[in-house]
Amino acid sequence: MHSSRGASHAEAPPSTGTTIVACTYKGGVVLGADGRVSIGNYIMNRASNKIAPLAEYIFLCRSGSAPDTQVISDNVKHYLDQISAESGEEPSVEMAANLVKLINYNNKDHLVGAMLIAGWDRHGGGQVYGAPIGGTLVKEKWAIDGSGSTYIWGYCDNEYRDDMTREEAEKWVAEAIALAMTRDSSSGGSIRLITLDGTGAHHKYIRGDEVQQFVGDLPFPAAPPASLPLQGGAAGSMVVG
């Protein structure tokens, strides 16, 4: 699946095709992602983990080119490790976000990575930053990205509230991803959630069969009415191709 933003790359590697969501709530942040990695019609991994740890309380949601975002994640984790060792303090979410932005911007000719950085730090509490392709960095109350995000802007705009509780925020994130998975063929499989509130990183895994469904199968047809013939005859029956 090539996201529309990457279409200008003639030889872009297949992207993960993803739905990623992050939002702040009263006390922290919730991050979520689907689990599907597809190359064309082949689902290479139906339960992948698209949320990468950058520091104890800072995580990165990855969408776009899988290898590009993995390399960015590894580099930023390394730089954050180094600066924590030098300063003796936990890195801030803003520092992680800025590093992602610098790599995206300084290598914009080569990289196709649309990421969300979300985390919790002592001074700023829960924060969410969007780092789309090209090297923009925007601090936001909530952010979504990936191919599936196009289908849920309306839901997110309409349903987001300031100062939600942890339960409300987790429900909002999970529902947004489930809706995107319904309509985006490149998103699906399972949902992973991570909640960060200063007491720890709380992981939640929603198996594929547990994901909220919005468009169920049509009910199995009951026995047809007696007036219709069971088998197709010559003149009076419809031929359904």
């Binding site: 520092m95 800025n98 590093l99």
Partner: protein
Amino acid sequence: MSGIGTGYDLSSTTYSPDGKIFQTEYAQKAVDNSSTVVGLRCKDGVVLACEKLVLSKLLVEGSNRRIHNIDRHVGVAVAGLAPDGRMVANRAWDEAASYKRVYGEPIPGHVLCERVGSYVHMFNLYWSLRPYGAALLLAAYDKNGPALYAVDPSGTSLRYFGTAVGKARQAAKNEIEKLKLNELSAREAVIEAVKILYKVRDEDGKKFELDVSWVCDESGKVHQRVPDELLAEAERQAKAALEDSDMDD
């Protein structure tokens, strides 16, 4: 001519038998002979105050700055060889600017002071370089609050509640110890710093000026020169205090 470190003081890569590096000690002398600089870390900020001897009537008032801005939230006051101090201050500026560019937030005071300390220390390691003959008092106000640091020519960097370098440092430090710094506002600390400079300086009749800066809540956590009216008031109080003590004598 024979002197204290004869034979062991020609190079910064030579130890003396009693474990000293004389070149570093001599660099420290350049700082010790300079005019006094005082730093105070109070309740809500940091104050830096320098005594500047005016060497010539031809100098424009306010020239020969001893205090430099390193970033919005950090400033340094220099004692010792002025050009050396300027080099180190420029390095501090570089470090602060590149930290901001890479990490997106202002450099924490303790990170900057260690980087400056490492830089100054490097000049004590190599035969081809001489140690910097300057000490820096660093005033920073970051997300952890206000802090005062001092970096000396050996590269040692330490955090202080209050300290002084230069000619009258011992007398100044004695005065600083009398203050209850945790209870002083920055405004009050400015007045105390100026009073100390007036009290401990050599009364040789030579003309002098003051460079006084602060970074505190009142300045919006920005490092800047103190307002003219505050400096004028501080000098007025300092002169009055001197006259009082003169009358007591």
